[in-house]
Amino acid sequence: MRGHRLIVNRLALVVWAAMLPVGAPSAQTVSPPPAGPLRPYIFPPVEEFQLANGLRVILVQKHTLPVVEGRLILDAGAMREPAAKNGLAALTGSLLSEGTGTLTGADIARAMDAFGARYFTTADFNAAYADVVALKTVFPQALALSARTVAAPSFPAGEVSRVKNQALAGYQQSHARTAGLASDAFVRAAFESTAPFSRPASGTPSTIGALTRDDVINWHRTMFAPSAATLLLVGDLSPAEARSIAQQAYGSWTATRTGQTPVENPIRASSGTRVILIDRPGSVQSSIIIGQPGFRATDPDYLNMVALNRVLGGGFNSRVNMNLREKHGYTYGAGSTLDLRPGGGAFRISSDVRTNATDSALVEAVGEYKRITSEPVPVPELQGAVNNLISAFPNAVQTVQGLAGRLQQLIVWGLPVNFYATYRERLAAVTPEDVRAAAASRLKPDNLIVVVAGDLSKIEAPIRARNLGAVEVWDPNGNKVR
């Protein structure tokens, strides 16, 4: 019976407003209606069990539609590969689905397509993945085929060379875009060359070119084992169905591997802000990144950083977007990202800005980075930001893919799988003082990495004139030119 009287009152207000002569200035405007009583939201229970071979299985039930996702997450991401074999984890991940037993890659693709299943295998910095989403009726068969590609891939020689060519093409396409150039340069500048995160997870042309089929076979043999993997099952399954389907698909997988030590991403020492420029002639926009390395989800002030990020650039109504887009019209959008990684990730502002405003956009973005460290965040601004994170959370997990994505983050970051049970309450407890303390201790506005990829014939001189820091010009491969 919420608000019957409220509705009547508001009707009166709206009618009154509508009766005013069109265009006449009104002394008073109508205020937004208040929120009704909050309806409870509980993150669905996360059930966990283990197969006899050591494979950890996590089930989250969701029965609204007959859709199920099965995502295997394996600790065989690019962070574990040697520098000289950069790109090996990603290549192996892609090659899983290109042959198993007597089935060719084309056979596997046909079989998965016949199920109407979305299937892909890949690896990124954090992990290797085999992901299958399908209607419930065909899910058990699709997951079983997916498991065969994970446990017993055949890595046909022809497919190794073909997929290597695709990886090279991917690198070239990424480096044809200002955003790809800027993002590779940023991590290269921010981390020591020994840090896995200083390299692109998919490798570079020289390292990809040197990878062999033996490298792939060896990587799979030493890294792929049930003890190093988690199978997420999300969707329209009962616990009994989940156990039986998981057992059928993965029960006979027997590989073992030795334990792994935690990954470190050492930060490159620097004093003062570095400004790195990369030329891409003819660009009508520049991609800019401003940030610094060194953030983990396991940091004690993780949620304070989440709130800080939301205020600075984690939404439309955030400082950098309101400044660069809404106030100045430099861009279609600007934001910040807390890019968490095992071993330490990075915090950064990024945007694509029009060429003739590149230097001004940099000054504004660096200014916002500084302001959040020097001035306390006003209480209403922080409340709005935190409330957005808390209240929008149920929206983000309406789909099996949304749920699986959230759970995947916990697994690769090393957080407990019941993390979201109290996530909203703990975020709500973040205070302006917490954010101020996080900003003061973690952000280094005088020691930033600033990267700009664009048309240097137009932007280099204006950027130098702004004196943001020591300017270096790099080639697209990360070598200093001057």
């Binding site: 909050l38 309806r39 007959p66 419930k136 044809a176 109504n317 983000a396």
Partner: protein
Amino acid sequence: MRLRYVAVSLMFVAAGTSDGQAARRSAQSGKSPEVRIDYTKETLPNGLTVLYHVDHSTPVAAVLLWYNVGSKMEQPGKTGFAHLFEHMMFKGSKNVADGQHLALLEAAGARTGPDMSGTTSWDRTNYFEQVPSNQLELALWLESDRMGTLTEALTKEKLDNVREVVKNERRQTVDNQPYGSWLEKSEEALFPEPHPYHHSIIGSMSDLSAASLEDVRSFFKTYYAPNNAVLVVAGDIDVPQTKAMVRSYFGPIPRGPAPPRLAGTSLPATVGYENRVVVQDPLAPAPQIFVAYRVPPVKDPRAPVVRILANVIGGGNSSRLDEALVRRQQIATSVTGFNLGLADGGDMLVFFATGKAGSNPDSLERALLAELAGTSSFTQSELERARAADRFSFVDGLQTTGGFGGRADRLAEGWTFFRDPNHVNTVLRQIDRVTLDDLNALARERLVPTNRVILIYVPAKKTATQTSSTRVP
């Protein structure tokens, strides 16, 4: 994939069986599952159509509006206006200050992008927000305020900002991207002037520069009236209570004049000639070939056949182009195929293949055209694979209440394009009914050289794009 090109959006950003929700009855392999989206419909005295869909599985409510206006309604010299106007809808109205629409909804619990945005397509403009269900009234109030009073808060300063932002959007999505002009060039060739799909949604820089406040007012008066829109309220709602709120907020907005009828959308089945366009693209690292055909539009009964044809040839990982060009010949590093989903007169079915860096664009073009020439004798198993993919995509998209492509969006689409909100509940049956004859017949009729444009993107050393085009009858 298919959604990538459907619309131009406000923002770039990095988505049971209780009463009325998507109820499941039975599901057998090889046949579509029983999925039903229940709704109730009412029409307010001012002509606003309202659809209510109840789903209590998550405490989330979605508000979504489709205005029956898209870039196809734009006049010459005013290209890009429907989209520019969409951006103006976020710059405040009588009771909502500039920036407050998104600020209030973000603070209430909507993420700009997946939950809340506006998008403009050729055929319609939509606005949506997905909020915790206790914030439903705020969302309704904000939508009603801008539907009723947008022009009372217009200023030149707001228009200037929006114009700059949209120009940046064009730079980011078209001008600064390798192959960024493919869609504009395909539309130009497949839909000759004066067809309304001839020009792009985002429009030309010079038309954007020329847009005036008077244009904004007149566009609002012509198209943004309750009788030219459908409102969907979906999710964790109480229908009688929601109806009362909708009537109180939207009821007082006056009906507008009937919008002008769109004329001149009908088209011959085929273009009648082949267009071949070579683009010297300084941003491209490798050659890319696009081949686009004119096909039946979304409002045609053959629309499901079009989607399945796209999938059989270039959609799935086992499509013809994947197997031939990527796996066997290895002349392409990637291929894809999809249709845009245009509503009136004709749709565009496009395939593209990317070559290796340094490879010869002519051989890639020959290989792609050779594959496309052989596409009129599909097998039953090819059809079944594509059907399974189409069926899955549809069900998968229904997982979200609101947002782009969710249940509310599907209901609004049914009303706007078919005057039938129940259209969503007929899609799976339509997919089930497609036969091999349908598929082969459509391919024979439409996948012919005189019904296509071929775009050849060649990596170029120069810093300015150059285009040459030829027409073969």
